[in-house]
Point group: C2
Chain length 136, copies 2
DNA sequence: TTCCATGCAAAAGATTTGCACGCAG
DNA sequence: CTGCGTGCAAATCTTTTGCATGGAA
């Protein structure tokens, strides 16, 4: 899937910054990016891309349901590809590594939430934290 | 339980701002406060209490395991009493109401996470969001 | 008396916004 | 050619920090 095409389809223009940011995300697997990291990577691929442009592009990609963000323990955002149950992760309080949860775990939790809460649909969007094995 | 006593026990001083903030939290039930709201409430109870003092007091209460915080969709913090499984909630994307999850739900999710993730202990700290019944 | 906690102001960090220009369509 | 998207700078919002003073113990 080509994210810029998705943008074009919806009437947005294809620009160099958008191409660069989309290509980083497309090849990222499940990586979770701080805005700063994404900005650095993007600026390295092209001439300097403004931080504001990175924010604006991420906002756009979020509108279009390609990207999603949540917040780290200290408040700054992390952005990553959205997929049905992929909007969750667990961060090590010690080394700050971010891991994905197993598909099965995420699916189970999602089902429990829909069943038990008084919400019919849930965009789960969460961070778990703890200390991972490496840091013990 | 008296939170200021808990602070005193650990060698911290009892001051008017701490008394005021503790008393608000003690009578809050499960309410989730933005720092701004807590600051307003506290300032109304006493003379003006500085925002920095609110932050410092909340940080202290978090150290002492009385309070916990997480982040709203747009990044600013919300603070609330900590209890074993009380560090989670679900926020309506439309009216911004914050609800607690059922004890049972929270407990189940916690158990699943510990069982399935490669973390041995988890300080779950998360926000779910969706659209609540009122807003449908 | 001692030194911790506060208020105030300034700093720091993250994100958003206004505006003029350049480029995509 | 038209107007959307960008870069730049400034503004805004949230949280943190330095420092002198006042008050708790």
């Amino acid at each position: 899937m080509d994210f810029v095409i998705e943008l074009k389809k919806r009437g947005h223009r294809i620009t160099k910054p958008r191409e660069v940011i989309c290509s980083i995300l497309e090849t990222s697997g499940h990586e979770h990016f701080t805005v700063e990291k994404l900005h650095n990577l993007a600026s390295r691929k092209d001439r300097n891309i403004d931080l504001a442009t990175v924010y604006r592009t991420l906002e756009l990609l979020e509108e279009v349901n390609i990207v999603e963000h949540s917040h780290q323990v200290h408040g700054s955002g992390i952005y990553y590809l959205k997929s049905e149950y992929d909007n969750s992760h667990i961060i090590c309080e010690s080394c700050k590594s971010i891991y994905d949860l197993k598909e099965e775990t995420k699916k189970t939790i999602n089902e429990i939430l829909i069943k038990d809460s008084h919400f019919d649909s849930i965009n789960h969007h969460f961070i778990y934290s703890g200390v991972c094995k490496k840091c013990k």
